[in-house]
Amino acid sequence: SEKDREFQEKIDRGVRIEANDWMPEGYRKTLIRQISQHAHSEIVGQLPEGNWITRAPSLQRKAILLAKVQDEAGHGLYLYCAAETLGISRDEMTAQLLSGKAKYSSIFNYPTLTWADIGAVGWLVDGAAIMNQVPLQRCSYGPYSRAMIRVCKEESFHQRQGFDIMRQLCQGTDDQKAMAQDALDRWWWPSLMMFGPSDKDSVHSEQSTKWGIKQNTNDELRQKFVDQTVPQAGWLGLTVPDPDLAWNEEKGGHDFGEPDWSEFHEVLRGNGPCNRDRLAARNKAWDDGAWYRDGLTAHAEKRRNMVAEGAA
């Protein structure tokens, strides 16, 4: 249609789309799906890291981790707000998460088993997330773009903190070094999977690219992540658990092995190590908190009635 054409021209000229602008239903839906999925990831992402707050091994690390988990909840908040500008309520999105209908980043279905996992999650998972998110700062939809600018700033801080945990472990006792290597071994492949399947196998990519929602292919970002991370692992004295990993002078980047995509699809289908536990934790929090939400609503109601009576 004419409107669709005009919309595409705006995108192509680099004009930001704002909440009250006309937009195609598909664009709206794609963004709602993507932003809410991103918000849910921040919310569920509190769980694997929150798992170590009470057990962080120093007061300083405890404070840093608390601040990080707080930031994640904050990111969830901005992102829900950005999604709400597209005409969906936070309660609707929450219901979709809790019923299992909405997805969140599969990486959070892996468990954090040792303190080193908190380092690895910051270093690798936040590292991969930033790769994915940096281009989104230039996303065609204004509210999402602005949310991402704020998110990215904090995420790169988190990544540095994660790396610092790894650094301390790698400079520590033999037990600590082994712990760091073990965490890298377990988080490496799931981190590579965070970029999604190869673009040739990815369903939504083409239209999203045209709409200025997606800027790079999954494979480009994965390559960039590997090229950034491998030297860091080297600096730490850790071994990346990929026998096929090798520097390719010609392409100016690393060759590396293929992640186990059957595992990826299993986790996506709900069969990852923690899918059940994550959803159960979120559902419990929501159900146990019903009295709280109802109580605040009842109080607000009372207040309104008092004001109305006062006015009458």
């Binding site: 404070a63 600590q176 109580g295």
Partner: protein, 249 residues
């Protein structure tokens, strides 16, 4: 033990254990805003803990670090008030515990702003701003949930009934504080209990909550006598440092 060290441990242990309990709600609170608020309060409390432990460690002069104090003492050596170790039964308990703590924490921090000990004075001047923010938030929630639905009222009253007896342990004053008041290191602390009574009387009344009558005072935390929940808190908190005693983190 030097009364100054004891006093700082009483304060720092109390903020640490509450911070630990508060932080456990991250990702499990009834709404996202509470996830954020509880993380934020936890963060402030851990920060205050570090400051108290620094003063304690310095006064003690035995080369122990704040982390040594947090991770390498046993239950009977922890001097926190029993209130803060009471379990996270439900979110009503968490809110009420926080409120009762805040209702004591604000006046004691205000008093400590006039401490004759420079580091304590500076700590208090920094903390008191955080604490004011905490009590504004927790007082508001107590009122709204106490005077909310029938269920929320019942939840908050249940939490108050369970926790009120432990408030006494916050206010407990013994020879340690008296000695420090005597040498001007602490200002007189009687007004703290008065302020606590005034604050809670007004707020709980606005919240339509009844202060339990038979609330016998439970005390002992300040001399290392705890409740049976305390050991489990320490087991979890200290696990990693105790498992790798030679490691730095």
């Amino acid at each position: 033990m030097d009364p100054l060290v004891t006093f700082c441990l009483r304060m720092g242990d109390t903020t640490l254990i509450l911070g630990q309990q508060t932080a456990a709600w991250c990702g499990h609170a009834p709404v996202l805003e509470e996830d954020i608020a509880f993380a934020n309060m936890g963060l402030d409390l851990i920060g205050q803990t570090q400051l108290w432990y620094e003063i304690a460690a310095q006064a003690e002069g035995q080369g122990r670090t704040p982390d040594d104090l947090a991770f390498f003492r046993t239950e009977r050596q922890f001097l926190n008030a029993q209130l803060v170790e009471r379990p996270n039964v439900d979110f009503a308990h968490a809110l009420m515990r926080q409120y009762l703590f805040d209702a004591w924490h604000l006046p004691i921090q205000e008093a400590l702003c006039e401490s004759g000990h420079q580091a304590i004075r500076e700590l208090a001047q920094k903390s008191v701003k955080e604490v004011r923010y905490h009590i504004d938030r927790s007082r508001d929630l107590i009122v709204r949930l106490g005077d909310g639905s029938e269920e929320s009222h019942a939840m908050m009253q249940g939490a108050l009934d369970a926790l009120w007896p432990y408030a006494a342990d916050l206010m407990a004053i013994d020879a340690v504080e008296q000695a420090l008041v005597g040498i001007g290191m602490l200002p007189p602390l009687d007004r703290v209990a008065c302020a606590f009574e005034a604050e809670t009387a007004v707020t709980l009344d606005r919240a339509t909550l009844a202060i339990p009558g038979n609330g016998h005072a439970r005390t002992g935390g300040r001399t290392g006598i705890h409740t049976e929940t305390m050991g489990y808190i320490l087991a979890e908190m200290q696990q990693i440092p105790r498992s790798f005693p030679d490691a730095r983190w």
